[in-house]
């Protein structure tokens, strides 16, 4: 009987202990929406540039977090743009547009989209090789600038351009992959460098190649 009293006391004490408050405010914030990082629903990019998009999740407590590599990315038209595995968007045409969208798994309503418009070179002759070199033993990063349909006439051409030398004994061209780490996701592009070897004449040709445009431009160099 003594033990029963003790046990009863313990159980009643514990039962009273189990009478407590119920929390009615969520302890964890929740997802409100996801969005592609851009101030407007349209993103304009040059046909000779690349674009590294970012995505953000917004919470109901007005905070946010980067989720660029956690959402699914898709393009509406793969003939216009190319989306690489490292989430870099590269134009495949000189002019056009495509819709870039994000979603999260199969959750409906957790999605966003962005219209990507490509600003093209306004004609095949509206670009120029601005690099110049004339002595042996020098190196020079090859550079071309274009005149684009938005009025920008000194835009450096980074993507969709390749360079060749007519005489590699006079001047050779080497390539290097350059990483641009100034954005949220590192992107890469190919940099072409000309090296003059011996005196002579050489033609350096730049070729711009898109699905809807294939143009080349040659510049003559005399090396002393």
């Amino acid at each position: 009987m003594k033990y029963i009293k003790k046990l009863s006391f313990i159980i009643i004490t514990l039962l009273l202990n189990s009478c407590g408050d119920n929390t009615t405010t969520p302890i964890t914030k929740d997802v409100s929406r996801i969005g592609i990082d851009n101030g407007s629903p349209i993103y304009k990019m040059y046909s000779t540039d690349l674009y590294s998009p970012g995505a953000t999740v917004y919470f109901d407590d007005n905070t946010s977090a980067t989720v660029t590599d956690k959402v699914n990315w898709a393009l509406s038209d793969f003939t216009m743009l190319y989306l690489s595995k490292d989430l870099t968007v590269l134009p495949l045409v000189n002019e056009g547009n495509s819709t870039l969208s994000i979603s999260y798994k199969s959750f409906k309503g957790i999605e966003d989209s962005l219209s990507v418009e490509i600003i093209g070179l306004d004609s095949n002759t509206s670009w120029d090789i601005i690099s110049d070199i004339n002595t042996t033993g020098q190196t020079l990063v090859l550079k071309a600038e274009g005149n684009f349909t938005d009025g920008n006439n000194s835009k450096t051409i980074i993507q969709n351009i390749s360079w060749t030398s007519s005489d590699t004994t006079v001047a050779s061209i080497s390539t290097a992959t350059i990483t641009d780490n100034t954005k949220s996701i590192n992107t890469t592009y190919t940099q072409y460098t000309l090296k003059t070897l011996i005196a002579g004449d050489v033609n350096i040709t730049a070729t711009l190649k898109f699905n809807d445009m294939n143009a080349s431009l040659t510049k003559h160099f005399t090396i002393y």
């Binding site: 033990y3 029963i4 046990l7 189990s18 009478c19 407590g20 929390t23 009615t24 302890i27 997802v31």
Partner: protein
């Protein structure tokens, strides 16, 4: 070899005396979260089935229903409470006969459960638990007994999906209950 033979006879002895039993418990549970400032206090009921000897050992399985009166996970303003909880647990019971009319026991086991929530990416949350319990059986007849008990549960909830991260909440739950068992 002797130990194996003794264990063999021990098992036969237990099996020979064992009874199947069913029963029901009713009580209150108090859940205190360790990862956030939140508490839940709810009544619960469980239906159980077991097999064993009342004054020695038993294995027990029970299905539990907890009437949830808290809103700890749901973020939807239109939702008043998180969903009621349903769980299944398995426990091993060791009871003792000290010739004091009642039979004290201890229990240890594990289980899992689930409940509905109203969140953007989570509609159900599952949880796993380890539980420890103690109490007494009060025999009424050879076939019936009353059970008074106290149980502690260490609960780990499924992570909440925020896309950028997953947040896991853990809690300690303390329950006191009264129940009955029918053995046949």
């Amino acid at each position: 070899m002797k130990k194996i033979i003794l264990f063999f006879f021990f098992c036969i002895n237990l099996f020979a005396q064992s009874q199947t039993y069913i029963g029901m418990n009713y009580g209150g549970t108090y859940e205190n979260f360790t990862t956030a400032k939140a508490t839940e206090s709810s009544p619960f009921v469980n239906l159980k089935a077991g097999y064993g000897v009342r004054d020695a050992y038993a294995v027990e399985i029970y299905f539990e229903y907890v009437q949830n009166k808290s809103k700890i996970f749901s973020s939807d303003p239109a939702t008043k409470y998180d969903g009621n909880k349903y769980s299944i647990d398995v426990a091993l019971v060791k009871s003792f006969d000290f010739d004091i009319y009642v039979l004290p026991f201890v229990k240890a086991g594990f289980g899992s459960g689930s409940f509905k929530v109203a969140r953007t990416l989570d509609k159900h949350i599952s949880y796993g638990s380890f539980n420890l319990g103690t109490g007494i059986y009060i025999p009424i007849t050879k076939h019936y007994d009353i059970e008074l008990g106290y149980r502690y549960k260490a609960i780990s909830h499924e992570g909440l999906n925020l896309i950028s991260q997953t947040i896991v909440h853990t809690a300690n739950a303390y329950s006191a209950y009264v129940g009955f068992n029918f053995r046949y």
